[in-house]
Symmetry: C2
Subunit: 426 residues, 2 copies
Amino acid sequence: MSKRNVLVAQSGGPSPVINSSLQGVLEACFESDRIESVYAAHHGIEGVLLEELIDMKKQPMEEIRRLRNTPAAGAIGSCRYKLKGENSSDFERIIDVFEAHDVGFFFYIGGNDSMDTANKVRELANQRGLDLTVMGVPKTIDNDLGDEERTLIDHTPGYGSCARYWANIIQNVNEENSGMCTSECVSVLQAMGRSSGFITAASRLADPDREMPLQLYLPESNLSMEQLLDNVDNELIRSGRCIVVVSESFMTDTESQLTDGFGHVEYGASKTTAMQTVVNALNQHGFPVRGQATGQVPGVLQRGVSMHASTVDREEAYILGRKAVEFALSGVNGQMVTILRTSDQPYTVRYDHVPLSAIANSVRYLPKEWIAPSGIDVTDDFIQYARPLIGDSMPKVEMEAGLQRFARIKKEFVAKKLAAYTPCNF
Amino acid sequence: MSKRNVLVAQSGGPSPVINSSLQGVLEACFESDRIESVYAAHHGIEGVLLEELIDMKKQPMEEIRRLRNTPAAGAIGSCRYKLKGENSSDFERIIDVFEAHDVGFFFYIGGNDSMDTANKVRELANQRGLDLTVMGVPKTIDNDLGDEERTLIDHTPGYGSCARYWANIIQNVNEENSGMCTSECVSVLQAMGRSSGFITAASRLADPDREMPLQLYLPESNLSMEQLLDNVDNELIRSGRCIVVVSESFMTDTESQLTDGFGHVEYGASKTTAMQTVVNALNQHGFPVRGQATGQVPGVLQRGVSMHASTVDREEAYILGRKAVEFALSGVNGQMVTILRTSDQPYTVRYDHVPLSAIANSVRYLPKEWIAPSGIDVTDDFIQYARPLIGDSMPKVEMEAGLQRFARIKKEFVAKKLAAYTPCNF
């Protein structure tokens, strides 16, 4: 069997551990005698279309190892580019680039949109008689892939770290709010997750015994501003202070908002954030006790701050990257590598693969039975599910001269073999 | 000499190391044979007015030691209460409480407003013939105490940790922005500091070699939105992406905003945040390259996230607490303990004291010579000044079952000796 080349790419919003999966893919590829060159697409599928391929075997191994502690997608780049429909020149171009560079294996690290893209690429490669193995590697802080019964995937890499960010900062905000509650009585925080409440729900991990005056506004609960004001009033009468976590889509007029290439509302670019809407409503409402509402929008910090990465999440993301290569080399094709839970206590998992088509464009919501009757809390079953994902200890973060030392991937591109191409959506 | 009691209180917005100063005060008091009881006011001066005093000798020593790793003011509470003018009943009440509880030493951990209050309390105690020693302990993330020449104080405890937060997260945001710049090209972050740009300036510590497309909008530069849009345009043409850090007061209509007890605008409660104003202006403006502007408001996270605390800042804050007690026991009165730099390289400091009256209500701005000619950067002299303050290594954060283990101070109050009192501003 002649050696083939590998192409790996990232897609969509990053996570604190997306590069752990990349590291896993790369190291497993480097160890195989069936793989020649390993290319990383610069900025995901855009880099494929533009034939901007980074030769990863030319990077020092210590930089590859540093990917483990390097958050977000700066190492090789990601994108939100949506390929035009299945018969467009974009898809043909991808196959052309794969053929030109003798790509035999394509590893795509991404969420539901990416699994759909990977699946279509594989179908077109099949039609054109190209010998191509396509494997998906799951990645999204939203934890919104697969089915609510978790038969396809237990949780997505990235979620554990984002959940740990929220568990950590809600503890910090509780110290702040309890210390300053005589003047700033309501702390409002806006969490990512446009339709799935997993991230907002993770705030509860800060306080599994429910000692804090914490209220969660999940997209699935669909509560009104009036209900929020009532709930906060009641909490202020009870304890004099309140911590409110709202999903980024809470009370947001989606009509007038900017959207990304996939038509999803870009809440990071909101004309008025959910935080702003809630803070203004609270401050106009007037409280039964002294104090003001103040707001926080962590934004991309929740998907990119390495100091809050979960050690469990990092390790699982790494293993998933390796497993994708191992499965591909053993003949598996058109599948997404997945993680399935085998036990809650002690927490144990096994790795497997599921068809890309089963994951493509799926959206998982927080199961109804995990939402408390009040609508502003989650149940103990959710805590049991999510708690192991944030790990126990602090993550290792390499420091150099007081700064974080991230992987430095040289952006030197492989020589182009094709004529220049302008992507359909540029 | 008969033993006297101590009262310690915190005031104003907290920092990640405010409790290190508290720990320093407490431990030095516990070691002295001239001090009987040590009381902490619950929620600062409000707790004094309400005679809500926590007996700190009844707390387990391991909890006192945990104050070092406990951010924000939840341990004993702070407040933003402004005492009515010097001859009001509020001031009389404070002296009454001091007399009733035989308080011989008052340690006040706070910023410029607090030093003013401490000074007035001392004057009134003098007038009433009370034997009272008053010492201030500096605290503010804003670094806006004293004079620009730094003869009164080199930097305030709290600033180093807040600066480290910004140095860390700007590194993270750069990974995010460079990874996602083909769809989200401008990352906007809002920093605290209503009139002094020290916090915004600290973002530069993430990138001392100026490799990032980073622009700083300092209050002192007073740039317009048109200038910001021009600057961002130019950077997008140059590198395709941009990171913008704006002070919370940038382009904010202060007239319609909420204020705190001291008349300062509460930017945390803004009707429209500076971030929102800038993100909307950028997205309406339209870019020469593809992509959107997205926004972050870390808010209180920059003054309360223990994972980003500076080890240098923690240690200095602790020593300042101890020094305040040592000076007081040696006969110093009406002074604020201070930290003065003796060398930049290696970084060394000495501890001293300065009159409360010299610090009271001072506001220090970022020196003009530390602002780069462009107005959107700081100079290397600023970097040399601020770099040692963020320390080199990660802080120790005690973890327990995946969560941060903070000090648990029992809120059991000393028996009241006076009739109930309603503070003037309640």
